[in-house]
C-alpha cells in the first residue's frame, strides 16, 4: 500500500517536473532554456542507457488521470504564473498551434515515413480559406474554420496523391515543389490579397463575447490571449488524444507497416492508396484547423507565414521531438517555438543559432528527444513480458 502511494506521488512529481521545466524554458532567458534542454537530454540519454526511462514511462502511464490532471492544471494556471504577460502567453499559444500542425505532420513523417515538405501549405490553406470567408463573405469564424479544415483536406489529397507514386527524396522534391507553387499562387492571386495578405480578420465569438476582449479572472485583469490559450490547448488535448488513439489502432499500425515496407504491407491486406491518403488528409485537417485559428487569433495573415521555411520549422519540430511519439512531437513543437522566440534577442544571429542548435540536437539525438517506441496495448500485458529494449534501436530500411 505504501508502495502504491509512493509510486503515485512519484508519477505526479515527474509530471510536475516536466511542467516546471517547460515553464522555466518559457519564462527565462535563452541560456537558461538551453541549459534546461541540455539537462533534459542528459537525463533522457542516461535514463535510456540504464533503462530507467522505461520505468518512468510506465509510471506515468499507470497514473494517467493524475498526470493529465496536473498538466491541465498547469495550463489553467499558466496565465497567472506569467502574471498576465501577453508575450509569454502568445508564445504558449503559438506553441499550441504549432503542436497541432506537428501532430498532423507526424502522421506522414512518423506514420508512413514520408517527409512532407508542404505542411505550411496545409496550414496556409486553412488560414486563407477561413480568413477569406469571414472577411470577404462575412461568414462566422467558426464556420470559416470548418471550411478551412475541408479545404485543407482537399489540398491534402492533392499533395498526398503523388505520395502514392513517389517515395523518399522524390516525394520530398514533389512536396517542396507543391509548397512553392502554393506560395506563388497566393502571391499571384489578388482576390485573396496577393502579397498584401488579409488584414482585419474577425475573431471568434460566443454569444456576444469576442475572444479578443480581455478578461478578469479572480480579480486579476488578464489579456485577451487567455481566451485563445484555453481554446488552443483544449483543441490540442483533443487532437493529441485522437492522434494517440489512431497510433494505437489498426490504422496507426498499418501506417508503420507502409513505412517499413509498402509491398509487405499490401500483402497483409492494407490498401496502400486509401491508407496513405488518409495520413495526408488527417494531417491536412490538423494543420487546416490550426491555420484557421492562427488567422483568427492574429487578425492578419500574409503569405510569408506559410512559406517553405515555415514548413521546415514544422518538420524540425516533428523530427526533433521524436517521430511517431505523440508526447514527443508536442514536446518538440513547444521547445522549438520557445527557442525560436528566445533567439529573437539575438536578431542578426537568430537563424545561424537556429541552424547550429538544430545540427547539435540532431547529432546528439538523431531519433529525437523522445524516440519512437514499441506499442504497448495493455499495461497488464506489459508487466508480464520482459522488455529489454522498448526503444527502437537501429535504422529503418
Amino acid at each position: 500500500m505504501g508502495n502504491k502511494i509512493y509510486r503515485y506521488s512519484l508519477a505526479g512529481l515527474s509530471t510536475l517536473g516536466i511542467c516546471m521545466a517547460l515553464y522555466v524554458c518559457l519564462s527565462s532567458a535563452l541560456l537558461v532554456a538551453l541549459i534546461v534542454i541540455a539537462l533534459a537530454i542528459v537525463i533522457l540519454s542516461v535514463g535510456e542507457r540504464k533503462n530507467v526511462i522505461d520505468k518512468v514511462y510506465r509510471l506515468i502511464g499507470d497514473n494517467k488521470a493524475l498526470n493529465l490532471g496536473i498538466i491541465a492544471l498547469f495550463i489553467l494556471l499558466l496565465p497567472f504564473l506569467v502574471q498576465g504577460n501577453n508575450y509569454l502567453l502568445h508564445i504558449a499559444i503559438m506553441a499550441g498551434i504549432f503542436s497541432i500542425v506537428a501532430l498532423g505532420l507526424n502522421f506522414q513523417i512518423g506514420g508512413i515515413g514520408q517527409i512532407n515538405f508542404a505542411p505550411a501549405a496545409f496550414y496556409g490553406m486553412g488560414a486563407y480559406t477561413s480568413a477569406f470567408l469571414s472577411v470577404k463573405m462575412g461568414l462566422s469564424p467558426w464556420l470559416g474554420t470548418l471550411c478551412g479544415l475541408l479545404m485543407a483536406i482537399v489540398l491534402g489529397v492533392v499533395v498526398g496523391f503523388p505520395a502514392l507514386k513517389a517515395r523518399g527524396y522524390y516525394l520530398s522534391l514533389v512536396t517542396i515543389a507543391l509548397q512553392i507553387i502554393f506560395t506563388l499562387m497566393i502571391v499571384n492571386s489578388p482576390w485573396i490579397g496577393g502579397p498584401n495578405g488579409i488584414p482585419g480578420i474577425p475573431s471568434y465569438q460566443i454569444g456576444g463575447f469576442s475572444f479578443r476582449t480581455p478578461v478578469a479572472l479572480g480579480g486579476i485583469q488578464l489579456p485577451y490571449q487567455v481566451n485563445f490559450l484555453y481554446l488552443v490547448y483544449i483543441l490540442l488535448a483533443l487532437f493529441a488524444l485522437a492522434a494517440n488513439r489512431l497510433y494505437n489502432s489498426r490504422v496507426g499500425l498499418a501506417w508503420n507497416a507502409i513505412e517499413q515496407d509498402p509491398i509487405v504491407a499490401a500483402c497483409q491486406g492494407i490498401n496502400l492508396t486509401n491508407t496513405q491518403l488518409l495520413a495526408f488528409c488527417l494531417g491536412a485537417a490538423y494543420a487546416g484547423i490550426a491555420g484557421a485559428i492562427y488567422g483568427h487569433y492574429t487578425s492578419f495573415i500574409g503569405v510569408e507565414n506559410f512559406d517553405f521555411s515555415q514548413s521546415l520549422i514544422f518538420i524540425c519540430m516533428v523530427i526533433l521531438g521524436g517521430t511517431d511519439n505523440v508526447p514527443g512531437v508536442v514536446l518538440g513543437a513547444v521547445l522549438l517555438t520557445m527557442i525560436d522566440e528566445k533567439l529573437r534577442d539575438f536578431s542578426g544571429y537568430r537563424l545561424l543559432m537556429y541552424g547550429i542548435v538544430l545540427i547539435i540536437i540532431l547529432i546528439i539525438r538523431p531519433k529525437g528527444l523522445l524516440p519512437k517506441r514499441i506499442r504497448v496495448y495493455q499495461q497488464k500485458d506489459r508487466s508480464e513480458y520482459s522488455s529489454h529494449s522498448a526503444v527502437v534501436t537501429g535504422g529503418s530500411r
Binding site: 513523417i109 527524396y169 520530398s172 522534391l173 517542396i176 515543389a177 509491398i263 545540427i359 540532431l362 535504422g395
Partner: protein, 307 residues
C-alpha cells in the same frame, strides 16, 4: 525571329548556371544515395570566396601585377573552387557522416540546417554580407562583333561548363578512381567486396563535386554580375530539380534537365501573356509531372523494385 533566337540564348545560358549544381546533386546521390540539400549554398559560398580573393583580400590584384590577367583570374577561380571542395568535404564530415546509414530523415534535415548556417555565416561575417554585391568581372565582357546577342563572357561560360562536363566524363570513365565511383554508385556492397576503399572514394567524390560547385557558383555569379548571400537556397533547389528531371545519378542528365527547366522558364516568361509570374510555377510543375510519370528522369536508368 531574332526574339526567338535571343530567348533560346537566354535559356541556354540559364541552363549553364543550373547544370553544374545539378551534376553535384547527381554525383553525391550516385555515390552515397543521399541528397545533400545545401549544395546551392555551398556553390554561392564558393562564389563569395572568389569574390573575397579578388576584392577584399586583394589576391587578384597582386597576382595580376606579375601575371597576365587571364592567368591570375584562373588561379583565383581555382583557389575558390578548391575552397568550395574543402567546404563540401568539411560538411560531409560534420553533417553527413554522423547520420550515415542511420536515419535518412536526420541527414536530410542536417544538410538543410547546414545550408542555413552557411548562408547566415556569409551574411554575418562577409563585409556587408547581407547586401547585394557586384561580382568582380573576371571574364571579359566585350561583345563579339556588333552582334548584341553574343558576348565573350557568355561564350566563355558555355565553354567552361562544357569543359567541366567533359573533364568529369573523362574522369569518371577513364580513370581508376572514376570507375570506382561508378562501381560504388551501381552496387556499394559489391564494390567494397572487390576491394574499393569506400571512404577514400567518397571523399574524392565530395572533393570533385565541391570543385564543380565552386565553378558553378562562379559562373552563375559572373552571368548575373552579382551575388547575394541568400541566392543559394533557390539555386540549390533548382539544381535538385534539374538533377531529378535529367535523371538523378546521370551526368548528361543534368545537362538535359538544365536545358529543359531553363527552356520552360524562359519560354513561359517570353511567350505566354502574363506568364512571367508563373514561370517558376511551370518549372516546378514540370518536376512534379516528371516524378509522377517518369521518376527515373530523362536519362536515368529505370530501377525495377525488387520484390
Amino acid at each position: 525571329m531574332e526574339l526567338i533566337i535571343s530567348q533560346i540564348l537566354n535559356a541556354v545560358m540559364l541552363a549553364c548556371t543550373y547544370t553544374l549544381v545539378g551534376i553535384g546533386f547527381s554525383l553525391f546521390f550516385g555515390a552515397m544515395d543521399i541528397v545533400v540539400f545545401c549544395l546551392g549554398d555551398v556553390a554561392i559560398a564558393g562564389a563569395f570566396a572568389i569574390m573575397a580573393l579578388s576584392t577584399v583580400m586583394g589576391v587578384y590584384a597582386s597576382l595580376s601585377g606579375i601575371l597576365p590577367a587571364p592567368i591570375s583570374g584562373i588561379i583565383v577561380v581555382f583557389i575558390g573552387a578548391c575552397f568550395t571542395a574543402g567546404l563540401v568535404t568539411l560538411m560531409y564530415r560534420a553533417v553527413i557522416v554522423p547520420f550515415e546509414g542511420k536515419n535518412i530523415n536526420a541527414s536530410l534535415l542536417s544538410t538543410i540546417a547546414a545550408g542555413i548556417v552557411i548562408r547566415e555565416l556569409i551574411g554575418l561575417f562577409y563585409p556587408e554580407g547581407r547586401n547585394p554585391h557586384a561580382f568582380p568581372q573576371l571574364l571579359p565582357a566585350g561583345l563579339i562583333g556588333d552582334n548584341v546577342l553574343l558576348s565573350w563572357r557568355n561564350i566563355i561560360i558555355i565553354a567552361i561548363t562544357f569543359i567541366m562536363v567533359m573533364l568529369l566524363y573523362w574522369f569518371v570513365n577513364r580513370t581508376k578512381t572514376g570507375l570506382s565511383i561508378q562501381a560504388i554508385s551501381q552496387n556499394k556492397e559489391a564494390a567494397i567486396m572487390v576491394g574499393i576503399n569506400w571512404h577514400r572514394i567518397i571523399v574524392i567524390t565530395f572533393l570533385i563535386g565541391g570543385f564543380l560547385l565552386g565553378i558553378g557558383g562562379f559562373l552563375t555569379a559572373s552571368y548575373f554580375n552579382s551575388l547575394r548571400f541568400d541566392m543559394g537556397a533557390m539555386y540549390g533547389l533548382k539544381g535538385f530539380c534539374v538533377a531529378v528531371v535529367g535523371g538523378l545519378g546521370s551526368i548528361y542528365g543534368a545537362i538535359v534537365g538544365g536545358l529543359l527547366i531553363a527552356f520552360v522558364e524562359v519560354f513561359v516568361t517570353a511567350f505566354i501573356p502574363g506568364g512571367t509570374a508563373y514561370s517558376s510555377v511551370a518549372a516546378f510543375l514540370i518536376v512534379v509531372l516528371f516524378i509522377l510519370f517518369k521518376p527515373e528522369g530523362i536519362l536515368g536508368e529505370k530501377t525495377v523494385e525488387k520484390v
